[in-house]
């Protein structure tokens, strides 16, 4: 525990001090990362701790957003005196109500049936919302404007960032504290063996409904923060895309660790922000990372970190940096090979390039990684192979060495230590 506090304090200082140094675009991306983190943490309360995989969490995220927008409109047009800083509460209340109702039905079943019921409920909202003008504003959705409060007019993204930061940190603290309470322990028992809970005299169904509702409350707050930040929402907030995204964040981050989903959500949101500006193939990269993490680090990024923390007294720290650095080097080589290949294909088959080809009948050189390449030359396409083969060999050797070092010390080797490409910079 002792190493955690300074680390968290340092992170908090960074979260407060760094954003003003960036422009509005980056600040907005950070706001989204914070919101995604809270949403993923709320989702993981149900998934990682309660063992209930919901495929329809977008429903509660969306309900929270719409509730806050209705309140914002009441403040804007009706002169209702709710300060902007308290608006997310409405999202929480809406999430709680929706969660109690939906949770009552969904938690009657477990496993895949539970997932399907949650999916169906979210789809219900998704198809209903565009036609229910009064509540969801038709397919254009609702929009409103943040009103000034106590000298703060919440006009700049930075002010919204700090508002979001306070709410997200507060909620994460509550969610973390929750895992330490007896009821939090009960939640984990629910995941491990619901039958036993019943034998111990607890009402398993009621417990599940409560856990479900707590999760949806925080999902609703996250949705409410989203509504405050973008000042609008439409029915697309209920789409399976949003529900799937939070599952993705949680799995990549690692559902077994409290901070796992938060790490996953932050990384993927910022990754999307940076890479979508550089290439249209960014969804492919995101998918590749997901597949690699699932294959080589099934417990996620958070799981990897946790494994190192758990074994910290047994690991030969002095001898680890070299193989880790070698592994990272190999990862960089493989990443470069992949990026070079994908970007080359994207470039050569793009509309613009093909236009030039049809107009001139020639395949001109293209620029990538600071050099120009001839698409018809086999040398160009060999580059990827030349990078890939040594990369794979290096990674395999380094992995074998790392396994050896871990086992030498009697440390439990997790299923696998590192995703080969995790060290690379896409």
């Amino acid at each position: 525990m002792r190493y955690k506090l300074p680390l968290i304090a340092l992170l908090m200082v960074a979260l407060v001090a760094v954003p003003p140094l960036f422009g509005g675009g980056v600040q907005y991306a950070l706001v989204n990362a914070l919101i995604a983190s809270l949403f993923a943490a709320a989702f993981n309360l149900l998934m990682g701790q309660g063992g209930m995989l919901s495929f329809g969490h977008a429903a509660y995220f969306g309900i929270g957003a719409f509730a806050v927008l209705h309140l914002m409109q009441a403040v804007e047009y009706g002169g209702l005196g709710v300060p902007t800083v308290l608006l997310p509460l409405a999202g929480g209340v809406a999430g709680l109500t929706g969660g109690l109702f939906a949770g009552y039905f969904a938690t009657m079943r477990a496993g895949v049936y539970f997932s399907l019921v949650t999916l169906a409920l979210a789809e219900l909202l998704y198809s209903l919302a565009p036609h229910w003008e009064g509540i969801f504003g038709g397919e254009a959705g609702l929009s409103s404007m943040r009103m000034p409060f106590m000298g703060l007019n919440f006009g700049t993204t930075l002010e919204v960032y700090y508002l979001t930061l306070v709410w997200v940190v507060l909620c994460l603290v509550i969610l973390y504290a929750y895992t330490r309470t007896p009821f939090g322990r009960l939640t984990q028992a629910l995941r491990d063996n619901a039958q036993r809970i019943r034998y111990m005299g607890y009402n398993a169904h009621a417990t599940k409904v409560v856990v479900f509702a707590i999760s949806t409350t925080f999902a609703g707050i996250a949705g409410g923060l989203m509504a405050i930040s973008s000042e609008t929402a439409n029915y697309s907030i209920f789409s399976t895309h949003i529900s799937a995204e939070v599952v993705l964040y949680t799995f990549v981050g690692g559902s077994t660790v409290f901070f796992g989903p938060i790490i996953g959500a932050s990384i993927f949101t910022l990754f999307g922000f940076v890479v979508s500006g550089a290439t249209n193939a960014w969804l492919l990269y995101q998918g590749l990372i997901f597949v690699l993490v699932m294959l080589y680090a099934p417990s996620g990024i958070g799981g990897l970190i946790q494994a190192h923390i758990d074994q910290r007294h047994r690991l030969p720290w002095a001898r680890l940096p070299l193989p880790y650095a070698v592994l990272a080097g190999g990862g960089v080589l493989i990443s470069l090979a992949a990026v070079f290949f994908i970007q080359s294909v994207e470039h050569v088959f793009s509309n613009r390039y093909q236009t030039v080809v049809t107009r001139t009948g020639e395949w001109p050189d293209y620029h990538l990684l600071g050099a120009s390449w001839d698409p018809l030359s086999p040398v160009t396409w060999l580059v990827s192979l030349v990078l890939l083969v040594p990369g794979v060999i290096i990674v395999r050797k380094a992995m074998a060495r790392i396994h050896e070092l871990w086992e030498d010390q009697g440390a439990d080797v997790y299923e696998s230590e590192t995703a080969p490409a995790a060290g690379g910079g896409h």
């Binding site: 675009g25 254009a140 006009g155 000042e231 609008t232 697309s236 979508s276 960014w282």
Partner: protein
């Protein structure tokens, strides 16, 4: 303690230095952000808008740019959804763009328009213009209208007005009209317009259908409904798969004697997929390649690799009107004030191959002619690799096509 003279000397020197820096600084370039759907399901349409906008702006750059600098064209991928658009609009504004261009999806257009409006309220003196090249929802010109948004595309009343007029003149409208549309704002706009024209053109709307958007795999039940209503013509604002599958189902049911009046039949791939069933059907659109000058068509082809199709002619005209307005405002290399550009745009006119287009002050809608075309084999540019194309029947003049300004639009002028 400094004497008063010393202070004034220092201040004077400071001012002189500041002015020297200002005058030696380079001219401020006009920055244009294209916030389009460049990944996801609407990519094909988003790409067309981006291509058309880029074509016009690059022409300006070839002739020396604007304000003493090349126009900077930045592209942002909004992913086809509103949250992506919100993020990219903020990114674009942070990058210092003066103008945002966007077209595909009215929902995204609504988001961009609102974000721009809010930004402009909060940042007086640092405003941004929004050029809507594709969002056709009436709402954008209604309660969401604002001074810094300009709409360069047609709307449901414009398309339906032109369709019914020309189809009636050609004797293809009949007196029994069936309305089938998608159940959202655009489809409802269409249905409303179809019903509104009934008296003027002496037809009866025999039935109206609003169906799910992009979810129906088989239109056979709807076609059976159409058949039993026995209409002379069917008017639909359907687009994408909903139009394609509808036309397919119609072809299979042997309803060849019913004429279809559409808004989007010219979308790439529709004619090929509909096959011979497409013959004789109508489309009302802002531009038809058959009417464009050969010089422009060939130039467009050589710069972009394809002929201007579907939404491209309309988008090109819109952005051309914008560059026309730019010519009227000279910042002499200094700071760019988009309010002056907006004022010039309200006054600008452009002579297109179809007639004059201009912006009206009431809601910033472009007053433009609408072409009504019929699928025929007698064309210069067959489409989709078939022997069919769109034969222009009539150009409905801008004055006849335009709708009146909606009461819900209350535009605050700076």
């Amino acid at each position: 303690m400094l004497s008063r003279r010393a202070i004034s000397t220092v201040a004077g020197a400071g001012m002189a230095l500041g002015m020297a820096v200002a005058s030696s600084a380079q001219a401020e370039p006009l920055k244009v952000g294209i916030v389009e759907s460049l990944s996801g399901s609407q990519t094909s349409t988003g790409r067309l808008y981006a291509t058309a906008a880029r074509y016009v702006l690059e022409k300006v750059n070839e002739q020396g740019g604007y304000n003493g600098e090349q126009i900077e064209i930045l592209e942002y991928d909004n992913g086809g959804n509103t949250s992506g658009a919100a993020a990219k609009v903020r990114q674009a504004i942070a990058d210092g763009v003066n103008v945002i261009i966007q077209g595909s999806s009215s929902a995204v257009a609504g988001q961009v328009s609102e974000d721009v409006r809010k930004h402009n309220i909060r940042n007086r003196g640092d405003e941004v213009l929004y050029l809507n090249v594709g969002g056709e929802a009436m709402e954008l010109r209604g309660n969401k209208c604002h001074y810094h948004a300009f709409h360069f595309t047609s709307t449901a009343p414009m398309r339906v007005g032109a369709l019914t007029q020309v189809m009636s003149e050609q004797g293809d409208l009949g007196d029994r009209v069936y309305s089938i549309n998608q159940n959202y704002s655009w489809g409802k706009d269409m249905q409303e317009s179809i019903e509104a024209r009934a008296d003027e053109y002496g037809y009866e709307v025999v039935d109206t259908v609003l169906h799910e958007v992009n979810r129906i795999q088989d239109f056979a039940p709807y076609v059976a409904q159409i058949k039993s209503a026995n209409p002379d013509s069917v008017i639909t604002g359907n687009w994408s798969n909903d139009l394609l599958l509808l036309m397919k189902a119609v072809g299979g049911a042997g309803l060849d004697d019913i004429t279809f009046g559409t808004a989007f039949l010219d979308q790439v791939g529709n004619v090929a997929n509909a096959g011979q069933g497409a013959m004789g059907n109508y489309v009302a659109h802002p531009g038809n390649i058959e009417l464009l000058s050969e010089e422009f068509v060939n130039d467009y082809q050589s710069m972009t690799g394809h002929y201007p199709v579907y939404v491209e002619p309309g988008a090109v005209n819109g952005i051309k009107l914008f560059t026309k307005a730019l010519e009227k405002v000279d910042f002499e290399g200094g700071d760019i004030d988009v309010n002056q550009i907006a004022a010039a745009l309200e006054q600008a006119t452009l002579e297109t191959d179809l007639g004059e287009i201009s912006i009206r002050e009431g809601d910033h809608q472009t007053v433009m002619p609408v072409v009504v075309s019929r699928v025929s084999k007698d064309v210069k540019y067959p489409v989709d690799g078939t022997d069919m194309g769109f034969e222009p029947i009539e150009v409905v003049s801008a004055e006849d096509a335009i709708f009146s300004v909606q009461e819900s639009c209350r535009m605050r002028r700076p």
